[in-house]
Point group: C2
Chain length 202, copies 2
């Protein structure tokens, strides 16, 4: 199974790379994540230039699509051509957003009445779209999940692993990346957060 | 003040990018981090190619140097030319290692009798160098700090900010990146971990 980590110019490294690196820990279980970009290269908010691993067209064949965050998401959602190049299908795909990525889901009309998690900076722009914002790091309903606060990307990644290749693989990936000496408590926190966010699926 | 995030081919994205993104949150306090590479580009363990922001020569002018981790650190420490290109000076610089980066510090003879934090995979190789490995996510003595387990890179970054531009800037950076709804507990955990690791400095 394949995951597209959609990454725009001005992206936040924490959002795209915590998700991609953590998901790629589940490679042995049959899951792969790819940095997916609208141009051959994108440059982060801190000036790091990265070569995309997949073009946006890859979204059509991905089993899960995570929309990363960055300092130019408002330009992204104002670009109707770019939005059209994001043919997300919650009937067939898992869809996740990190921080300002929620704005993309809102503009694409994917949220319905679902409230979201997003970061403090993005919050007013998401609310302007008529979407309710929760004071929670992670919220999921059905095939859509949202995370808020850069380090909440670990929840989005664990949810993606759990929902594609299973809870055991998610647990193993989180255990591997957790700080030494804090593995049990990290696994407990992450798994309970993604579980608590998906009561309908338990 | 400037921080070199030394990043080799085969690097782990979590290690280099959590540190660089978190440290760059303290830009307003006068701190900047740069992905520092031995070649113009490096490719991560998951196939992401990144343009280096600074060459290894930048180490000589950096106030702090963090050695990232990856799947080829054993090749790095076997390459005496590459080791020679890392003129680390704990008398003048803060020096940190993430996971297998501890092996680089050991081979450079920087650790003396200091025990370290490192990850489970790197542990036997670090111990082979005669260095004691702690079951702790973070350990610092004097101007050297070591972290183990990918997500422990948040501790290394917070320590770097705290020791260069101050504890308030570190606290603000951690607060910003922490998951929404978990900010207070994240700040408490990170600040207590880097404080607990540096009793001599309090």
């Amino acid at each position: 199974m394949q995951v597209a980590i959609v990454t725009f110019d001005g992206f936040n490294e924490l959002d795209s790379f915590i998700a991609s690196a953590l998901i790629n820990r589940a490679r042995g279980a049959g899951l792969r994540a790819y940095i997916t970009t609208p141009t051959d290269t994108v440059t982060s908010m801190n000036g790091v230039t990265v070569q995309g691993q997949r073009p946006l067209e890859f979204i059509a064949e991905a089993d899960a699509v995570l929309i990363g965050s960055g300092i130019r998401t408002r330009d992204v959602v104002a670009d109707l051509g770019l939005l059209d190049a994001l043919p997300l299908d919650p009937g067939r795909q898992l869809i996740g957003s990190q921080c300002s990525g929620a704005l993309v889901l809102a503009k694409l009309g994917l949220l319905g009445s679902m409230p979201v998690s997003t970061d403090i900076t993005s919050r007013p722009f998401v609310e302007e779209c008529g979407v309710r914002v929760l004071d929670a790091p992670f919220h999921t309903e059905g095939s859509i999940a949202t995370a808020g606060g850069c380090l909440a990307s670990q929840y989005l990644a664990a949810w993606t692993i759990s929902r594609t290749v299973g809870e055991a693989a998610a647990l193993a990936a989180v255990d591997y990346v957790a700080p030494v000496g804090e593995k049990a408590e990290t696994v407990r926190r992450v798994m309970s957060t993604i579980g608590a966010g998906a009561p309908a699926l338990r």
